[in-house]
Symmetry: C2
Subunit: 327 residues, 2 copies
Amino acid sequence: MSDAITVGIVGYGNLGRGVETCLAVNPDMRLAGVFTRRDPAALTIASDAPVRHVDDLPSLRGTIDVLILCGGSKDDLPASGPQAAAMFCTVDSFDTHARIPEYFAQMDAAAREGGTTALISAGWDPGMFSIARVYGEALVPDGESHTFWGRGLSQGHSDAIRRVPGVAGGVQYTIPSDEAMARVRRGERPGPSPRECHTRECWVVLEDGADPDAVREAIVTMPAYFADYDTTVTFIDAETLRAEHGAMPHGGFVIRSGATSPSHRQVIEYSLELDSNPEFTAGALVAYARAVYRMHAEGRRGAVTVLDVAPALVSPRSAAELRADLL
Amino acid sequence: MSDAITVGIVGYGNLGRGVETCLAVNPDMRLAGVFTRRDPAALTIASDAPVRHVDDLPSLRGTIDVLILCGGSKDDLPASGPQAAAMFCTVDSFDTHARIPEYFAQMDAAAREGGTTALISAGWDPGMFSIARVYGEALVPDGESHTFWGRGLSQGHSDAIRRVPGVAGGVQYTIPSDEAMARVRRGERPGPSPRECHTRECWVVLEDGADPDAVREAIVTMPAYFADYDTTVTFIDAETLRAEHGAMPHGGFVIRSGATSPSHRQVIEYSLELDSNPEFTAGALVAYARAVYRMHAEGRRGAVTVLDVAPALVSPRSAAELRADLL
């Protein structure tokens, strides 16, 4: 398809692989190449797209419509995002909520200077959950929004477990409380506290000779991560960890509960149940790459977020088709 | 607030009253007046806004930012919508799905001629459910979307019951099937048939001397409305109808279930549980009136739908605030 949107993938971890898979079910888009910081010759990818070094990107300016940045939010995107946005339209899944304003400002400056459009924080949270929070608050102003995560594997909490002395491996699942969700749906105000909303399940492999009680204590008392939650620690062997805890499920709920008059309660709920967190995020990145391409074509410059993107722009269908079939 | 968005309400039934109530929790908007086809002197409204005849509207051109059209989709909006859109920015809840393309074209022509912006079909279906369908399809292209309505009172089906000879009054509730929803969530393809998705509950008051069996038969065999569904008819007295079936609850579910790779299923769900259908729709009309005002200020002309509106535009908050607090 000669007029397909050409896309480059930067970074080839779980997310990059998910984007590559997803492009196959989006025939209006074409993968122009996978870009890596490693030795391109040493990287085998699933499709037959070229693999190139990220240092080749400046020479490709003008030949790729949108770069999908698949790096992490902690170290990678803050450094490489603005560099990419200065040369190409970009979309990324930057997900450190507290640093979004700062990252937005950096991406906005780079994109304005480069005459590009840079969409940050696509994915599910931030992303689709953010959209649900904005709609909920605007349509039912007199109410409360609560976000519940899980049941799902939290990468950050799993990393925290693995840093505890005596731990050889482990994962952490975040579990939303049915009771807390019921209270939110009923419209209780104030709603449940953070501790009441989630519990945390840790599945841990000990190093040889490690003291289970000491490890458990170190985990459940860890500030910020576990101390404020009801946390259970279950010890398993390395084989069980590999066999039963290798998937990356996640999901959650955004619930808006409010009143439009004294006797009328209204509850809006947006939920996700994801077998694969990175593959869903990849789907969002691809859909928003389409939107970025269109917004840039319409003259938009600088950084944007999913909140700035009209729903129709993420769909491959025409506005008339959407009105006839989906409205 | 001198720079508030000034709004006029056209039509003062359940929906118009809901809009009036809703404006009170949206301090960036101000009610300029309620417009009626009846004798204004005979209409008492809840607020202290002026009540005027719709024939006064032409003389008010330029003094009202957005008209919220609260008429019905069958006879009122197709006639009065284009007239209003030729003079003012408008938002309405036109909900006859099959006639949306035709109505859109009429409103688009009127709005372009008048230099206005006309948003059609705000509400929940069409409206928020349409948005959920577009996002679901775009983010998980390899999947199926199903919409379930209820438990809720269907105005169209209640009207159909009341037209049956021998019926003095009645209401119909649409009930989504838990079993069918479970099948959709599991990703069964093809999904359940229309008959399997909903059942219909009718609560009917007979006229004196009417034959219950004949009435029941006339209802459950009625083409388009009931013949294709499992329908139950329960006879009640007029007092019970008044006491227990006077509310207008509704809601439903949009479920997108699909796969992003052979072993990974992804389920997206958007649901509403509404004590008051018209009050929720009113909340959507008010939020989208804000968006219409902003889009018109940015130069947009012609008809648009909720699919053309970026989420940030429905919120009273600034883009920077939304990024910091809700993204």
